[in-house]
Every structure is written in C-alpha cells, then in structure tokens.
C-alpha cells in the first residue's frame, strides 16, 4: 500500500472572482476525498486556501510575506472530517496570488517529507488565474517561476493546474496573458500539467480523483526485424473505470451482533444430471467445449499439450497508409507504447519513426503477444503520439484490430437506391448543413466542449454522491443528476441560440408515425424491407383484392396466386372476365383490343394452370356469341390471329372441347364473320 501512497496538497483559490465556481470546486474536492477514503485510505491530503482575508501559514510566520494564504488542513492522512471542511469552503475577499500559494504548498510538502517520497507528491491548484501576481522581492517573475520549477523538480513534486475560465470578458486580458505565460513556463520546465476548463462539467472531469499507479503490460523489444529492435514499455492508455463492486448483504445476523460481517458467500456446486442429489467434486469434473451441438470433453493436460502457444514478442508486420485503417475498426481499450525510460537510443528510434509516420501519413501494423504463455495473439495498429511538451518523449498509441472472424460483412442498400421521397431536397440539405454548423462543440474562443479527457462519468459521480448521502442518511432517495453533469447527457442550450436554424430544420422535414405498425417487438429487418416499400414485394402482391386499370394482368396473377383462401382463383377469374367485357364494351374503334387480347391470354394461361378450362371456354364462347355480329367483330379476328383457342382436352382433362374443336374455334369465327 505504502508504495503507492500519494501526498496531495490542494491549493484552492477562493478569491472573489472564483465565487461562482466554488460550489463545483467543493463538489470535485469532496469526490476526491471520498475516493481517497475508499481507494487510498493511506494517502495524505493537505488543503491550502488563498485569496482569504486572513493569513495563516508557516512561511508568513517565518519569513514574512505570503499574505492571504491559509493552511486549512496540514498534511495528514485522509479522514472524514476533511470531507465536511471541503464541503463548506469559506468565501475569500481578496484576489489570490497563485504563485505564492504554490510556494506555500511546496513548503508544506518539503517540510513534511524532505527528500523522501519523491515522485509521490502532488500539488493541485484550482484557480482562475485572473489576478495579478505580486512582484517578487528580487529578480523578475520569470526568475521566480524558474526557481519554483527547479525546486519542484529536485523534490519530485508534480503540479496539476486547473484554470477555470467560465465567465469571459470580465478579466483584464493583459493579466491573463501574463499569468498564462507564467504557468506555461512552469509546465514546460517542470512536472506540471495545465488544463483550462470552461464549464462546470469540465471542472469535475479535469481533476484526476483516483490515483492509479500505472502497470506495464509489456516490457521488451519492439522488433522491426530480427536485427533491429527498439526497447519499449507498454501501458494501458484507456481503461474503463468500472462501477464499484458491491457485496451482497445478509440480514440474517441478529441486530445485536456488532461484529457481524453481513457478507454472503456464494457457493457453486455441480450436480449430476442423472442423480440431481449428487454433487460432483472438482477432481471428477472435466472441461467440455462446445462444438456445434456437441460438447467435447478435453482434459486440461491434453488441452495444455495442444493449445496455441505463441512466443512472447512484439513484431512489426509492416507499414501502411493511415487511410487503410478506418477508425471504426479500433476494437478495444487503447495501449501506449513508450520508449524505455532512460534509454536515449530507444527514445530517438521511437521518435524518428513516430515523426516519419506523421509526415508520410502512415501507420504500423504489429503482432503482439504480451506475456509468455498467453493463449492468443493481438494484431493492431500503431499510430504516432507526438509530444507537445519538451520534457515528454514521443510515443505511440496502439489499437487492437479485428480478425476475419470478428467482422460480419452485412450488406446494406445504397442511399442512392432509395426512392426519391427519401432523398433530402436541396432545401432540406441546407437545413441539415446549418444544423451541423450551429451545433458546433468546438466554438471559436470557447475551447472544446465535452472533450473526453475532461468529461466526468456521470454515473460514477452520481454513485459517490449518493454514497455520501446514504452514509449520513440511510433512507435518502437517489438524487437527481447534478445540474453540472447534465451537460454530459443533454444538449447545451447555449449552442442552439439561433432558434431559426432549429425551426427551419423542423419545418423542412416531416416525421410521421407509421399507423400500420403494430407495437410488436419482433420486426423484420427493417432496412432492406423498407427499401422495397413502394415496389411489389411478393408479400404485398399476395394481398391484391381486385383488378386495377394500371396493371390488370399482374393484379390478376397475384390474385390467382394467393394462397390464403381457395376462393381467390374463382374471384380472380370472375374479375378478369368482367374486366375484359368492360374493356371491349368501352372500346372506341378498337383502341382497347391489344390490352383485351393480353388479358384474355392471361386468363387462358391461368385457366390452364388452375385446371379450370370451362371457365375460359364458356367465356370465350359467350363473348363471341354476344359480339360476333357487332362492330367488335374485329376483336375476334385478332383473337384468331393470335391463335387464342379454346382449352382442349390435352391441356386440361376437364375440358369439353376436343383438340380439333378447340383449334377450329377461331376458324369458325372467321367463317361466320364472312
């Protein structure tokens, strides 16, 4: 435990210009202390306030100066009283001097630990850095900053600066510029990190509240080839901070038992299927792996002997254009490849490759086996991380890529294949463009909003707040999400200031609920089905109930083909007959003949197929009788020329027409028409 023990001193600006931000500062500091109580109960915490009316610090007593700085809490092991203190920070009355505060903080740490504890001491400064720092007694401010940096470095003290810049315009620009450059100097020379925050949410995310000491995943060679190797260390760059694990609670112990653990032991037993009362002990169990419907027993020895055992190594496969690796293929949490600390050659090698990658826009592909005995390999992509700080070496990020088995190549319809009613018009496209431009999360002069590096996890924040609440009031309810965390889950109202863009967008597009859609959970694959919405989906065709004028033959065939009732064949044939009669009756100088002929042919086909020859033969005879003497006679000439005959016995056994009769029927027309 002690190895990772951290000593942290908070330097909090409570001067007048900070008053607005203080509620959030209180929150973030409480969470920090809460987490320390849980994960780092050995850590030391000190609190220094500056911008106070009073002055109370050792340096002021010993050497004078250092006014308006109060050591609220000397460095001591974290305790719950601190939580109460931080929840109610006093409001200061004087503009604070952050440089003095840093010196006081350093003094606290150095006096407490001297030269021990190197690298485990941290100062955390929260200020707006809006007020002028005092001129030092001797030398310039830059000199002073230089001395501070030197001191920090020699004692191994790190500094996190969180600079709040929420209200703009009020502060004196000249002072801001000067302060920023001073801070920048510290950061460049020493172990300091500066973060500017523009929103309460970012403030909550900016402070690292849990101190996790990094553990290498791999130390060894990055093998470009068997002859050229670079010494690297691999760490996790991202790792999901999980929801805390809670234990199951047993209420069985009597209330009087003060030493009850209330814990619950979970016991697993493996029961035999044949005899459910028999518990099978571990030595009588064997592992089984699924292969299709079979479960294949494999003893662990057998498995050990044959399983995949790659050698521990990190090998280069080659380089490729960055555009070859699309972003969405990144599979898992990210790793960082850092040149072996203290190895200058490795630093140069990593740095030159990283910079060459950046210049030529290429990336490297690697095959990695992190540990000996690991049963799998990882293939991934190495991308450059060029350092922005003089004291930080260049490094790489490594992202795992999928194997062939991990990718499902589903096919989706092109957007261009969708009906035009689904394509946005020019006006709609403009409205969308304007919306995208308006909802800009990197607005000019405000800095990036919702930067992942500064966005707190609202679930965890909420949990820790609830935990604190419950520890004091066990029956309290889950509090609503904090307003400053809402910025993570809800759109920023400031972004949509321009209401007309939104109104425009809303007015442009129309959304309607599908009235037919039942609220059934199980729906077919929407995307591909929707693409067919206006086409004749076979299933739609099956629902045709009458013959329309646009596509009578298709309608007719669809009706005949319906299988959800036997009456459809009869109804289809009847409808077709009526339709043909109507066509002929309304025909003007034979303009409807070709269509009628087509329909008649369709009817004949269907009657053969459905073995309903009578229906057709009768119909043909009937219309012939009805119109043979009228001016529709021409139609029957066409019938004859198209060889549309009665349906013969060979075609359908039920027919009453012999082959010869069938064939001669059109001939008879010819004859009688003469």
């Amino acid at each position: 435990m002690a190895r990772n023990k951290e000593s942290l001193t908070l330097l909090l600006d409570i001067g007048p210009s900070m008053h607005n931000a203080l509620p959030d500062v209180e929150k973030i500091c409480s969470i920090l202390v809460q987490k320390k109580l849980i994960y780092g109960w050995n850590d030391d915490v000190g609190v220094v306030l500056f911008g106070t009316e009073e002055t109370d610090n050792d340096l002021a007593k010993q050497v004078g100066g250092y006014d308006h700085i109060v050591v609220l809490n000397g460095i001591s092991t974290v305790n719950r009283n601190l939580l109460g203190t931080l929840k109610k920070l006093p409001r200061g009355t004087v503009a604070g001097d952050f440089l003095d505060a840093i010196v006081v903080g350093m003094d606290l740490l150095i006096k407490k630990f001297g030269t021990t504890n190197k690298g485990k001491m941290r100062l955390c400064l929260i200020t707006d850095a809006e007020s002028l720092t005092k001129e030092p007694y001797e030398g310039t401010k830059e000199d002073q900053v230089g001395i501070i940096s030197e001191q920090m470095k020699s004692h191994g003290i790190k500094l996190d600066c969180i600079i709040t810049r929420m209200s703009s315009g009020m502060a004196d620009q000249k002072i801001l510029v000067e302060n920023d450059s001073l801070l920048c100097n510290i950061s460049r020379k020493g172990n300091a990190k500066i973060r500017y925050v523009a929103s309460p949410a970012a403030l909550l995310g900016a402070l690292r509240t849990r101190n996790i000491s990094p553990v290498t995943v791999f130390r060894g060679d990055l093998e470009l080839s068997s002859k050229m190797k670079i010494k690297i260390w691999v760490y996790k760059k991202t790792s999901e901070e999980r929801f805390p694990t809670l234990k199951k609670y047993s209420d069985k112990a009597p209330a009087s038992d003060r030493f009850a653990t209330h814990e619950v032991k979970v016991d697993f037993e493996y029961k035999s299927l044949e005899d459910p009362s028999r518990n099978v002990p571990p030595e009588q169990r064997i592992r089984g792996y699924r292969y299709g419907p079979q479960i294949i027993p494999v003893s662990s020895d057998q498995w050990e002997a044959v399983k995949f055992k790659p050698e521990k190594s990190v090998k280069l496969l080659g380089f490729t254009d960055a555009s070859n690796i699309m972003r969405h293929y990144f599979l898992k949490e990210v790793y960082a490849f850092i040149p072996e600390p203290g190895n200058k050659k490795a630093g140069v090698a990593v740095s030159s490759i990283a910079r060459a990658m950046r210049e030529t826009n290429k990336v490297a592909l690697l095959r990695c086996v992190w540990r000996q005995g690991q049963g799998s390999v990882t293939v991934g992509v190495l991308t450059p991380n060029i350092s922005s700080m003089d004291t930080m070496p260049d490094s790489f990020y490594f992202n795992v890529l999928p194997f062939a088995e991990d990718v499902r190549e589903f096919q989706f319809p092109s957007f261009s294949s969708f009906p035009s009613s689904w394509q946005p018009t020019e006006q709609q496209q403009d409205a969308a463009d304007n919306l995208v431009k308006m909802l800009d999360l990197v607005p000019y002069g405000r800095g990036e909003i919702l930067m992942p590096d500064m966005t707190p996890n609202p679930v965890l924040e909420r949990f820790f707040r609830f935990l604190e609440l419950k520890s004091t009031k066990p029956d309290s309810e889950v509090p609503p999400l904090d307003t400053s965390l809402r910025a993570v889950t809800e759109p920023d109202p400031d972004l949509s200031e321009n209401k007309s863009v939104l109104a425009d967008f809303r007015g442009c597009f129309e959304l309607k609920h599908n009235p037919k859609k039942k609220s059934s959970k199980r729906s077919r694959d929407a995307a591909s089905d929707e693409a067919l919405v206006q086409s004749s989906d076979p299933r739609d065709a099956a629902k045709v109930e009458k013959i329309g004028d646009t596509s009578p033959i298709e309608d007719f065939e669809a009706m005949i083909a319906r299988r959800d009732g036997s009456e459809w064949v009869v109804r289809g044939i009847r409808s077709m007959k009526i339709y043909i009669s109507d066509l002929l009756e309304n025909s003007y100088e034979g303009d409807a003949y070709p269509k009628a002929i087509d329909c008649l042919m369709a009817l004949r086909r269907a009657c053969v197929l459905e073995q309903e020859p009578e229906e057709f033969n009768q119909f043909l005879r009937e219309i012939f009788q009805r119109w043979k003497a009228t001016d529709l006679r021409g139609f029957f000439e066409m019938v004859a020329s198209k060889n549309i005959s009665l349906i013969s016995k060979t075609e359908a056994a039920d027919s009453d027409a012999t082959d010869s009769e069938a064939r001669s029927f059109p001939a008879k027309i010819d004859f009688s028409s003469q």
């Binding site: 996790i212 999901e240 972003r327 991990d406 990718v407 190549e409 999360l441």
Partner: protein, 630 residues
C-alpha cells in the same frame, strides 16, 4: 420490478455480451440448394495458364466455409444441404433429381456437426460417382428439378416456428435460363409452376436468395428466369447483377458476404432536437469472436453437469435466497443499497441516442476508444421520414468533415458516443463499407490514463530525432509498405487452433491438425535486400554504428551483476539452511510450537526448502506443516 440482479452486477464489459452471442431465440434455418447439373462441372479459367475451377467447387467451398463459421459462432442455426439436378435422388418426397446430403445421427435440417463438415469436405471427390450429375429438364421430359428442389427445401423448412427462427433458401446455380431448351406452352408452364412454388414458399415466410455464378463468356442474366422466382423489381435487378462478379476472387468474396443474414441488435430512437426523433437500427458489425465457454462435464459419463448456486450467510451459515440488498464499505461502515436504487443511479437519460453536437473529425483522437463500434442505419418502419433526415445529416457530416457527439442512454453503461458518417465504398466484388454511421464509444476522463507523463525528463528534448534520422525512418516506412493491407485479413490463429482441435477430437482423429498462423511477419519479404538495407541504414542512424557491440557489452555487464545477485541469493539461502538446522522442526510442529516462533525464524525453514515466503504468519505455518507432511 423483475430486474435480474446478476445482470445488473455483472462485470460491465459483459453488459453487451448478448451482442456477442447469438441467442437461440433468433436462430436461422437455412437450406443450401446447390445446382449439380453438368454445366456446374465445366472447368473454366480466365487465363490460359490457370487451372480451371468448377462452379460446383466454388459453391461447395462457400458452403463449407459458411458451415465452419456457423459451428463456431452461431451453432444454434440449423442447416440442410441439398443438391438438385442429380442422377440419384434422396428426399422424403422421392422427387427426381434432388439429393439431400446428410450424415448419420443427424436430421436433414439440423445443427451443423463436426461429422457433417468432415463428410461434406470430402464429398466432392466422389460426388460424380455416388450422387451423379444429370440435367433432366429437356424437351419431352416432364421433370422440373428446380420445382422439385424448392418443394423439398420448403418441406425441410416446415420445422420450427417463424417467431423464433428465420428461414432461408440459398440457391447456387450458373444456369440463368433453366427452361431455355423447352419451347412453347410447356416452357411457360414450367416457369409458371416453378414461380408459383417459390411464391408459396415465400408466403410461408421463407426467403429465397440466389447466389448466381457467372461464366466468363456471359453474365448471369437474372431477368431471363429468376426475376419472377425471386420477385425482384427492375431497380433491384441492376443492383443484383453487379453482384455476380467478374473475377473468381470477387465471386467468392461476394458469396461470402451474402451467405449471412444481417441481424440487427436493436432499434433506437435518435433524438436530434426537441420534437425531432428519428428511428435507427443498430448492428454489431464488429465483435470479437471468442472460444465458447467451458461446460463442466462428469469425467466418467461425459455428461454435462448442472451448476447450482447457493447463497450462504457468512455469519449464521444459513442458506439464503438471492439477497436483494448490496453494501459498500465506506468510512468503515456498511452503506446499504437496494438493487432498484443501483439501477436508478445508472438511469441517467432515456434509452435513446441524444444528439449533443458536432466536432471536426480531427478532434476524435486515436485513444478515444474503449469497445468495438456499433453500426447504425436508418429505418422508416415506425417513423416515416427518418431515413430522409438521416441521409441529410450523413451528407452534411461528410461534407463538413464533422462527427456527431451523442449521449447513448443504455441501462448498462450510459456513455458518450461519437458518430462517424461512413460513405458507401464498393469495389468490383461489391460493397466493402456500407453507408451509415459508426458509433464509437468514448472514454470518460476517469478512463484515460497518462502513462507517457510518468517519465518526464529533460533528456526528452535531447532525444528528438534529427532530420536525417526522420528521413531514414521515412525511407524504411516506404520500403516495408503493405499496400493491399485490409483490416481483418488475418484469421485468429488461437481461435482456428481451438476449433480445429475440437474438430479433431470430435472425429477421433489421432493427428492434431496444423493451423497456419497468418499473423506472423513475412520473414521472406523482410529478408529482401532493399528492406534489409533500409533497416540497417535506420539502425545506424538512430543507434550509431557500434550499437550491437555496445549492447553485447551492456548485456555482459548486466549478466555479471546478475551473477552477483544470484551469488548473494545463494549466500542467503545457505545462511538460512544453517539457521534452519538449529531448530527441530518436526518436534515444533508436533507440539504446536511453530506459532511461538517469529516470522523471521519461520522463513529460515521456508528459504532453506525453497518455498514461497509470501503471506501472513498463519499461511507460513500451514505451508511448513504441509511441507512436513503433517
């Protein structure tokens, strides 16, 4: 409230494991219909010197690949393999020209087994002798093998309810006009009846898909016959024909892609702004495939065992029901939470995607990643107009080079996501990247670490490379350029090995199959003189000329010091052995006096006998006791 508490407390990374594993509830029943007409056996080659492959071979290979994938990742799916235009017949209906391929101990339509895969993979050699190829649709013959095959397939698919399974027929053929040889009335009738058969099957909820194989001398013309069978519209035809590839490789690719039905994960509401909410479907296009979980078996009977979990109160030993309360130790006290409260904490926002804004693409850093991405595609099924808005935003994002940031309010882990618009990319073998958006799960500040900041030092600036070193590195990059690299071109050697071992054991094979590890670097390529020279140049530039000697020297000195260390260790061990000899351990153990010794004394024994030194005093004592055989 019936939330499964286990579900809630499961490791968060498992929370979407339902995406990884296909559930039985949405299994798929597939009948592979493979044309075995003589035409399928005509070898063809695009180039003179190339050895001809037959379409039959390609089709069989595709099915085999797909069976192998199925048995690994979707073993609940049921398959049947059925040839048509065969000499022999084997089917329940006893129809001519249709042969249902199967192995013993398996129903015709059943889950794929190792046996089936094995038999099927060697079936091709003896196919012509045993099953035979025969085209029986010709003038004068009343046989209609396509009709028959559809009938058989439909009958096979009678099993299973549509509610729990999707049913598909996948048809492989290179004959675009099967009834071409027949003319007149019979021709029409054949088409009519066959189409009717297909329509009947479709009405029963079976989807029929065609995987056409084109010959080099002529494209597969879907419009000749299959349009009617599949019920395609003219617009789709053009889309369809392109899929019958020109190159052999493309054809294989294409078939591979079309073998699997796409399955959506869920339908999401995408809230663009107040009052505008569109509908999108999400798909898991990329998910790591992992070897199946271990099932414990009885080592005697090899029957699966039923795991039973019981909860025991630590204080009283009483058997409990699943407790409804959880506690967290905080400030030395147990703070109690109910399961409902815990799920309430995680409920931050409605279960939908909520648009927060847009950022330029370069604000998405390489390390902003935690989990595999999810693909989203619009749908108009429930809300008309969704697709139109989606397309408009998609286009704007591409044009303005922005990605969207949204909050995804899932109950397991509500998270910020980046939505990247993906343009459709196609090549000769069809769609490579579908159009839509990729949802990338963003880390929170707590999830990001800064290991690179741990080693700040003044030398960093000194180890910045010179222009010459960068130039040498660039030259190296250009030399070892994998131009045609495509993500996921490697299969996972561990997984392949895992399943090939299982297959070998399942089939009682003695030899363990060798699985090629495709992920190893190309040694041969790396040994090419150009690359070797570029590597040497780079090495000399960054490490200096005498690097290897220096390394050797430093290793030697390290070994020397390691030698010292080991000497020291040995000295300690010797000392301990001597010390240890001063105690009568057996006596001490028998009289229970071990606990009276100090830890240091106990460690003498442990060191002397080369045992681990870790643990509390009790652990040390018990270790000594067990070593003494007590």
């Amino acid at each position: 409230m019936d939330i499964d508490p286990e579900d809630l407390f499961r490791d968060d990374s498992d929370s979407d494991s339902e995406l990884f594993q296909e559930r039985e509830a949405n299994k798929e029943l597939v009948v592979y219909l493979i044309d075995a007409s003589p035409r399928m056996f005509v070898p063809f080659s695009q180039h003179e010197d190339e050895k001809g492959e037959t379409h039959f071979h390609i089709a069989v290979n595709c099915v085999l690949q797909s069976l192998k994938t199925q048995i690994i990742s979707r073993s609940y799916d049921e398959v049947a393999i059925c040839f048509f235009n065969t000499k022999e017949k084997k089917n329940l209906q006893d129809l001519t020209g249709v042969y249902v391929f199967n192995v013993v101990d398996r129903e015709s339509l059943d889950r794929a087994t190792a046996g089936l895969i094995k038999e099927f993979s060697i079936m091709e050699e003896s196919f012509l002798n045993k099953i035979g190829s025969c085209y029986s649709i010709f003038p004068g013959s009343k046989e209609n093998t396509i009709y028959n095959s559809l009938w058989v397939a439909q009958a096979l698919l009678r099993k299973g309810s549509l509610k729990t399974a999707s049913k598909r027929i996948l048809m492989f053929t290179n004959e675009d006009d099967p009834f071409g040889s027949i003319s007149g009335v019979l021709h029409r009738d054949m088409i009519k009846t066959t189409t009717q058969r297909a329509k009947d099957a479709q009405d029963l909820g079976i989807s029929i898909e065609l995987l056409p194989l084109s010959r080099p001398d002529g494209k597969f013309d879907v419009s000749k016959f299959y349009v009617g069978l599949l019920g395609l519209e003219s617009k789709e035809i053009s889309h369809f024909v392109s899929s019958a590839g020109e190159r052999l490789e493309d054809m294989k690719d294409q078939l591979k892609k079309r073998m699997f039905n796409k399955r959506k994960v869920k339908t999401l509401a995408f809230l663009i702004s107040d009052g505008i909410s569109i509908e999108v479907n999400s798909y898991a296009l990329i998910r790591p495939t992992v070897p199946g979980a271990v099932t414990w078996l009885d080592s005697v009977s090899n029957l699966p065992l039923k795991p039973e979990r019981s909860f025991i109160c630590d204080d009283t030993g009483a058997l409990l029901q699943e407790p409804a309360k959880r506690f967290f130790t905080y400030k030395g006290e147990k703070v109690l939470f109910s399961v409902d409260e815990l799920s309430e904490i995680k409920r931050l926002a409605p279960n939908c995607l909520r648009l927060l804004g847009f950022k330029p693409l370069d604000y998405l850093k390489d390390y902003h990643n935690l989990r595999p991405s999810t693909f989203i595609f619009p749908s108009d099924e429930e809300i008309f107009g969704s697709t139109r808005i989606f397309i408009a935003l998609h286009r704007s994002m591409l044009r303005l080079r922005r990605f969207a940031v949204a909050f995804c309010g899932s109950s397991a882990r509500p998270q910020l996501v980046a939505l990247i618009a993906q343009e459709e990319i196609s090549n000769s073998s069809g769609q490579v990247e579908p159009p839509g958006m990729h949802m990338i799960y963003l880390p929170y500040s707590d999830d990001i670490r800064y290991p690179e900041e741990h080693y700040l030092n003044d030398d960093a600036i000194a180890s910045r490379p010179t222009d010459d070193q960068i130039r040498k590195a660039s030259a190296l990059l250009k030399r070892i350029d994998l131009k045609n690299f495509s993500v996921c071109q490697f299969s996972n050697p561990a997984l392949q090995r895992h399943y090939s071992i299982l297959q070998a054991i399942a089939l009682d094979e003695d030899e363990m199959p060798e699985v090629k590890d495709e992920t190893l670097p190309d040694e041969e390529g790396m040994a090419r003189p150009g690359i070797v020279r570029a590597l040497e140049d780079f090495k000399a530039a960054v490490y200096g000329e005498n690097h290897d000697q220096e390394e050797a020297a430093s290793i030697a000195s390290k070994e020397a010091s390691a030698g010292l260390a080991s000497k020291k260790r040995k000295a300690i061990a010797d000392a301990a052995t001597q010390e240890s000899a001063n105690y009568n351990w057996v006596d001490l153990a028998d009289n229970g006096k071990l606990k009276d010794l100090t830890v240091v004394e106990l460690k003498y024994y442990l060191t002397a006998h080369n045992l681990p030194l870790a643990g509390k005093k009790e652990a040390l004592i018990s270790r000594i006791l067990s070593h003494l055989g007590k």
